[in-house]
Amino acid sequence: MNTLRVPVVEKILNANDQLAEQNRRRLDQAGTFGINLMASPGAGKTSVILQTIRRLAGSTRIGVIEGDTAPVTIDADRVISAGMPAVQINTGGDCHLDAVMIANGLNQIAVDQLDLIIVENVGNLICPAAFQLGTHTNVLIASIPEGDDKPYKYPNIYRGIDVLILNKIDLLPYVRFDMDYFRKGVEILNPGVKVFPVSCASGEGFDPWLDWLRAKLSKE
């Protein structure tokens, strides 16, 4: 028997990245803009989606792919009752969505008839950052009660995003949250990233986010 060193030099998540590329091409061919929406549990992912649907309904056809670790359809049901198609993906306990799950989700929804697909990732600030899905943009929701130190504790997810939605700003008077400290952490990790402070409870701050989204949709 010979011992031999074989060079490999392959990115560990190469297979996922390639499938993500296929997902991207599929969305491009359908003319559908895809968002990967990430956040911790309870930051308001579903609430932001519902507000966005409510305000864009009429002008935009939106579909949602919901990722959950448990076989519950709570989120998908809420989207469907808001009048938009939704697919529920159960990750079977996995902590993130990957490109295979998105490919399956796209098979279950009429992509061609949609202007926008929002993928609601599993509530988690660590794992989703590592897996490309093939969507066009990464959006992270942070929320005031989570605390101002989250960029420092979960740097990877902040580094990979294009847009940061800061939710629950109506709670600022009641919660200790140093906005300068938070913004400084975000700026170190992701200089110039778009930040939209909003409140799903009051509706405050949604117009700039929707303007940004409309501009993206008109380009697609």
């Binding site: 031999l4 990957d98 660590i126 170190i188």
Partner: protein
């Protein structure tokens, strides 16, 4: 936390390259991971031992080479290594920094056993 999915990918990559090279057995797998990739070595090793059982990679030793997280300040040009936590540029206290190394996440090479003379 996503070490299971990562380990599955490592096993797939190592097995593919081993088969192509006509390996009887994989003895070592060399990984290069930047400090910024949130992967726990012990956890990968644990999954590896379970997943590789019965495959060409069974019993192979994983080697983790960790690349330090090096940053460059976009304002003053200073290069510095992250001590583990997020810091501003130590020289100008600026926050405009760029990652130079630390994002690596690859299978670099494998060591295999081949039948002698197989490729002759």
């Amino acid at each position: 936390m996503h070490e299971l999915a990562v380990t599955e990918s490592i096993l797939q990559i190592a097995s593919e390259h081993a088969s192509k090279a006509g390996a009887k057995k994989v003895t070592d797998v060399y990984l290069v991971l930047g400090r910024l990739s949130s992967i726990v070595d012990d956890s990968v090793q644990f999954y590896w031992d379970a997943l590789s059982e019965g495959t060409i990679c069974q019993g192979a030793q994983l080697h983790f080479e960790r690349i330090p997280a090096k940053m460059a300040c976009l304002d003053c040009g200073t290069s510095f290594e992250l001590p583990g936590e997020l810091i501003l540029c130590p020289k100008c206290q600026g926050g405009h920094v760029k990652v130079i190394t630390g994002d690596e996440f690859r299978v670099d090479s494998i060591e295999i056993l081949q039948e002698s003379g197989e490729n002759l």
